[in-house]
Symmetry: C2
Subunit: 222 residues, 2 copies
């Protein structure tokens, strides 16, 4: 599959590297290619991942069969505007950004919550994109390697398009998430649920002192 990953930070790089290792054609999108390549951190990562290409947002949007939004929540809508509605039309857009306001440190607050969510804002801004919210309830290392956390634990998908959620679930399974661990929460309004969970995620991080954790949904009669 041709996969566009928006975002050159540690989350974007980890996803891009893992997807390339899985055999996908991966292009990482950035606002300014030269600026990104001038970063020692990115350049050294690039050396280790020679098959991954770095391109401007608009080009990777046209390249990808699927687009992953791994840009920080506060910049997500601007990055997607740079990709452009035309490139996103009819395409699966896996959004794993959280609208974190980290200006006061940890634990963060959210720039939108309760009666709206970043997932919904993205779907509203790009009505022809097939937005699926997923993966953002775990740290990026766990996203791409769920076995870092032992035993059974859960990952969520939410979105308006069933086929898009099926495609995203396939990517999750390639990352190592068992099919039975993937919980479909319904349409994109459920992005509120998982984005608001981030406050508990950061409280647990504060308590456990490690990002290698997750929650498992346990139910009677399962």
């Amino acid at each position: 599959m041709k996969i566009a990953v928006l975002g050159t930070g540690m989350v974007g790089r980890a996803l891009a590297g893992r997807l390339a290792d899985l055999g996908h054609e991966v292009a990482v999108g950035t606002r300014d290619v030269a600026d990104t390549l001038s970063s020692e951190e990115y350049a050294s990562w690039q050396e280790g991942h020679p098959t991954v290409v770095l391109r401007p947002f608009r080009e990777v949007g046209e390249f990808g069969d699927v687009v992953l939004n791994a840009v920080a929540g506060i910049h997500a809508l601007a990055a997607l505007e740079a990709v452009g509605a035309a490139a996103l039309s009819g395409k699966v857009l896996l959004d794993l950004a959280i609208p974190l306001d980290l200006s006061a440190g940890l634990p963060p607050t959210l720039t939108t919550a309760n009666t709206d969510s970043l997932g919904e804002q993205i779907q509203a801004a790009f009505p022809d994109a097939l937005v699926v919210k997923s993966l953002h309830t775990v740290y990026y290392e766990v996203m791409i390697d769920p076995a870092r956390v032992p035993g059974e634990h859960s990952i969520f998908v939410a979105g308006n398009d069933e086929a898009a959620k099926t495609m995203v679930s396939g990517i999750l399974e390639q990352f190592g998430w068992p099919a039975g661990s993937i919980i479909d929460l319904g349409d994109i309004t459920a992005a509120r649920a998982t984005e608001m969970y981030s406050r508990l995620f950061f409280a647990l991080y504060g308590r456990l002192g490690s990002f290698d954790f997750n929650i498992n949904v346990v139910r009677a009669g399962a």
Copy 2:
């Protein structure tokens, strides 16, 4: 122990009944005793729990060594005002209310979230009370009988006073929560985490069609 339970709804009744069965002296608090007793639902429950007394808010506040707030979130501060700051001073106040706005049905929104929480509002309004936020992350039937959900699953406590959290953890253990399942999230600001989790709770309820579920925090190296 003498325990005051604020609230005559299904949550308050379930907690009061369970605490009485455990051998505690229990008084249920209400705004208007005659009005509550005129309810067929309450009266029939009362018949099955003859040791539980029903008293006005102010009286139960004076009676209880511990006060449980099981009033609906939107009425919680008013009920506690009726109990009075004097009766709450120096006392453990176990708050299990969620600030739900159910006016638009399920899933509910919250009347406060993100940069504040009901738990914090209660602590601010009654600075001499030892507020502990707990139990509200599961349905009331699971609160008092965690074995309804099989296997390991987690329950949270948050509050500013360590001794108060220890006392509340003792009540949780009497309900059947193993000590190892109780996670201390820190001070009362962590009430934001567990109150905001309620959106995911209701999304999961919508998906599972049952309230007999909970989350288990799974971590590496545990």
